[in-house]
Symmetry: C2
Subunit: 210 residues, 2 copies
């Protein structure tokens, strides 16, 4: 298996941490986003959306979208499950991972892409060009603050985002915090001590370096 | 099992069609969105995000988010699989369902919520109030047109959205077309004949009436 990815891409990191937790070996193929390599004909033949990451199986099948790559890896390598075990567990992980993604990760991404000068005219990843909307970026920053507050409340009640076990939901929430800190200068506010304690715990895992 | 839902909610319909395809019986509990019942204390105790649908299991476990409800139903009722069978299949369904959702369904939802007078101050579902952004709604409509064009190209190459079999990806794409048609007066453009042929085929299934 080959993972086409970028070391600076938060979506790529969601897959790298997943691989590290499950100890699955892959060949890493760097895609140079700075040089716009994702728009090259060679990469578009692998992923027509021109986004990273993409997992390419040994038979040539290309899988895009983080949750789809995770699904393949979990089904093909069921050891150290990160997407839940029982039907109920799996649903809880899916729910909380999606909430972390929709209320956190995607919101931070939206704020960054609608703000950064280098992404002018490229407010959304993918093959189509869209202009930035500054008002949307402001709303996204407000949503990111609400994400912090809501997840702080939640993490007063459970040790990990989806409940009792570390899961993919923690990976998305961890990458969201680091992305907000680095990309928006929005670290966890000091009053959110439950969220900070959870963060310190998951950031200390070896996989977080991936 | 109880499904808290609204007959007018496109996200609820994604679950109703899934249930109909798999022939799983549930007790339907209507939530009156017009009367803002989703914000009642009783419903917030079931789903703190104040959104529909929510699946409540016999042990009281509440599952929100369409993809999480689907995951539970697929794992607990594996007959008539709609989320794929092999690891590779499951990844393809996840990828294409997500693309239909992110490039289609969520885009139409964004256009509607940032436009409709009755949703002023409620531009995003959930517990927090956000103002509408008209410029965003315009961008969403442009994205919806790109969704139609991109999926038309894709459906020239495969009979169903995720490949050879009907799957959850078709459900999301079908509900997206009906939502765009009803909510934005944006039916499939006449030139997209592959998309229209796919639509006619899936809309003719008995489950589409759900």
């Amino acid at each position: 298996m080959k993972l086409y990815q970028s070391s600076s891409s938060p979506n790529s990191r969601r897959v790298r941490i997943f691989l590290a937790e499950k100890n699955i070996p892959v060949t890493i193929v760097p895609v140079d986003l700075g040089a716009k390599e994702q728009f090259s004909a060679a990469y578009r033949a692998i992923n027509p959306r021109s986004v990273v990451p993409t997992l390419v199986l040994d038979d040539g099948t290309a899988i895009g979208e983080v949750t789809a790559i995770w699904r393949y890896l979990e089904e093909a390598h069921p050891g150290q499950p990160l997407l839940g075990t029982t039907a109920k567990d799996k649903a809880q992980v899916t729910m909380w991972e999606r909430r972390a993604e929709q209320e956190g990760f995607a919101v931070v991404m939206e704020a960054v892409r609608n703000t950064v000068a280098g992404l002018k005219g490229r407010a959304l990843a993918g093959p189509h060009a869209y202009e930035q909307i500054p008002e949307l970026a402001e709303r996204s920053k407000l949503r990111a603050q609400n994400f912090y507050a809501d997840f702080n409340e939640h993490l007063k009640t459970v040790p990990f985002v989806a409940g009792e076990q570390f899961s993919a939901a923690d990976i998305t929430a961890l990458v969201t915090v680091d992305f907000a800190t680095g990309g928006l200068s929005m670290p966890i506010p000091a009053q959110h001590t439950a969220l900070q304690a959870w963060y310190d715990k998951v950031a200390a895992r070896a996989s977080a370096k991936a």
